[in-house]
Symmetry: D2
């Protein structure tokens, strides 16, 4: 099989504004996320793109050559241009995989594809998160034990404003008493979508081996299995397969 | 129970441009659709709204007092203002029912809530359509026989670019050889959505008794069963239900 | 509307073997569950049935006159006769609602309708359970705050071997560190199914006001909205709606 | 990747009772189905099994070494022993793929996994069937045009008593006027299930190139992507991940 062409997209803003974030991710969060995917999959070719590039690094040509897009954004969701969101949506419907991380729950592309509020509750309090596997045989949970823990993370809590997931892979338990659907799968058009909760910018979450493995697994799961090239065409089929009866006027 | 407050929204353009449509629907398609709902349900209070009114007739106050919105649009989808679409989406997620008819498959609100292309194939050729009931006990099929026919309709064919329906109520057979998922249910947020295929503007489809009954049934099915008032809030819950452990720095 | 005819089915074994259970539920768990439904809904007519009765209290006639069946069983799942399970399944597919409580996750009827293992992890350790509402507008969560707590319950943990729920209403947080999909909805045939986790026999869970309200809400949600009378018929339709072309031999 | 180990299971009864069937499938239907898979996939190792063998050819050892099971049965569904059905169900929940063909809609294993009636309407009248692709990018539709036709087949019509499919790949149009959900995907436990309608025993359907290709595609789609080894275990987890508070008695 050909390698899976992965683009890790990073908003790349916190890293330049918050020294705490810069200390954890000196080369940018996207760089660390990309390294984690490479480390855990031999099937990938991973590059990165950021908000600041022309077309946010996501030209039509590049998206056409992307199999799976991984997305981290937070404080600059509204800086992502609608015409680029249109372009990504089109590619997902055609078959490109999409992995949305953490605060990407409010990314335009995620809300666009799901159609719901994608709202949740949250708290920044250095608390322990334990992610439970809901389907131990799921390819996204490959190599993960019954659960794994992150010693300090931001809390996200229910209600999470999403359509019912096609498959539930993880649910989180938080030290402070909340729960959250942390790993959710959907199909939209011909594309596969996975939302994965962890990854607040001030914590070293994307250096965690379990988190890195899950993202790499998700990339392999989301690789295109086909192409629906004309997914947005609405053709007038003038000649029917069957002859039509003559109608009286 | 209180009456179901229904608003039938009509684009109301074809009726004024095409004499053929004006002949079939002299008071507007929305008026005929509204009459059909009243005729088939004793549980409703039905009014109408059109594109041409201020806020397309859908002010915040009116939508707040609407239980189920029925939508017919076609040639002026792009004339519907995004701020009104935002408002409708918010109400559906809170719990308002939405019935989308025929060419409304490309309405902004339908594409917004489903997230997919909503594309299909089509043909205008006066052909026979037969709608089969996929779940004879479904409330939307109440009073409908195993199938019903429309002697002349526009054809819509698969592939229909939608997320997998939560429930399939009707599938259509067309004289020319195509099939189509003609009655589809989804939940989004706290609202129920039903798409119903028939209703090309040049045919007397909304005078048909079976079609009228299905739309009235769908209105009763889609009535709100609750309200998710703060569906888009994303609150910071500073005080956790459980005490947090002190963390070493 | 006619009253909802509810039958609360109780295995009725623990109550006679374990003095601790008898002390909490002196008239049987089914009696307490039934009282809680009556207390929280004015729309119901509630009776009870038990394993020990002829046909386990579920004759064909009685099931035909039942709108919603509520099920609690645990140590005697295998004493439920298959012919009665067949009968219940048939009624659910026709449209009868089914509410399965706690250890009923391993009831024959639940496994039959879902087709999966329905396995989970568990622990009896007097621990706190907090049930979070995933859709605050859902009719089953009516009158429930963001969450409610049970001070002592048995723990059930993921993975829960179920098909992806059509709607997720509750997820539980446990003091010992686990999570669980505690309130799940499915449609099967024309019937609605709700699984609700709490209710270990040694705790006064069915005396809890929130638990009682949820069960009553679920009964109202699951009331039949139609009847698919011949859901298991497989008729030979000898005369097609359309004439068939003559075929050469 | 390792080859996909496929077992094609054939009831193998019609072939020995009906000369017409024997003429179309002189080596048995299972042999022809197996040949079609080999012809259309280079990723498979295909063997066959039949009802008449010990354990119907499906010993525990063999099923443990099977990645995807393809099933054709009709007149002898009730001859399949429940203990073998238990065994197959267990393997599907663990992760084995299952492709159910045509009259297998009433096979014990299919009804067991879906939980519904799986009933439909039917007619044997040599009529034309046209199968439309609902998702042109789906791996199961790879290499198939917008539709394909079978000149003579048995008719299956809606309502089809199934849970809502996770994905709809094909819908059929019949000459006599019916429609049917002909290609449906579900997940159960860790296994993928595909139902594919065509294949009445008296027609040369399994010699058709499109049908053969679809079955081969489905086999590749359904290959296990993991293993949920203890899918039916229900362990008592005595030691919780978190310490429990002491409770007053």
């Amino acid at each position: 099989m050909n390698p899976i062409r992965v683009v890790v997209w990073g908003e790349n803003v916190h890293e330049h504004k918050n020294p705490k974030v810069a200390a954890v991710y000196p080369d940018g969060m996207h760089t660390t996320i990309a390294a984690g995917i490479r480390e855990n999959s031999s099937a990938v070719e991973v590059t990165t793109a950021t908000l600041q590039e022309t077309d946010h690094g996501l030209t039509t040509e590049r998206l056409a050559a992307t199999d799976v897009l991984v997305w981290w954004g937070h404080m600059a969701h509204d800086k992502v241009e609608d015409r680029i969101v249109d372009r990504i949506q089109q590619r997902v419907l055609e078959g490109m995989g999409l992995i949305v991380l953490h605060s990407g729950h409010f990314a335009k592309i995620f809300k666009r594809l799901l159609g719901t509020s994608c709202a949740l509750t949250w708290r920044e309090a250095d608390e322990k998160e334990r992610l439970w596997v809901c389907n131990p045989g799921h390819p996204i949970a490959r190599g993960i034990d019954k659960y794994f823990e992150l010693p300090r993370e931001e809390m996200y809590g229910e209600p999470f404003g999403i359509p019912a997931p096609d498959e539930q892979v993880f649910i989180s338990w938080f030290e402070g008493g909340e729960v959250f659907r942390s790993g959710c799968c959907w199909h939209r058009g011909n594309g596969k979508i996975f939302y994965f909760r962890p990854g607040h910018e001030t914590y070293p979450t994307y250096h965690d081996n379990n988190v890195r493995r899950v993202i790499a697994n998700a990339v392999e799961w989301a690789r295109p299995q086909g192409q629906w090239a004309d997914v947005s065409h609405c053709p007038n089929v003038k000649t029917p397969p069957e002859p039509l009866a003559k109608k009286a006027d």
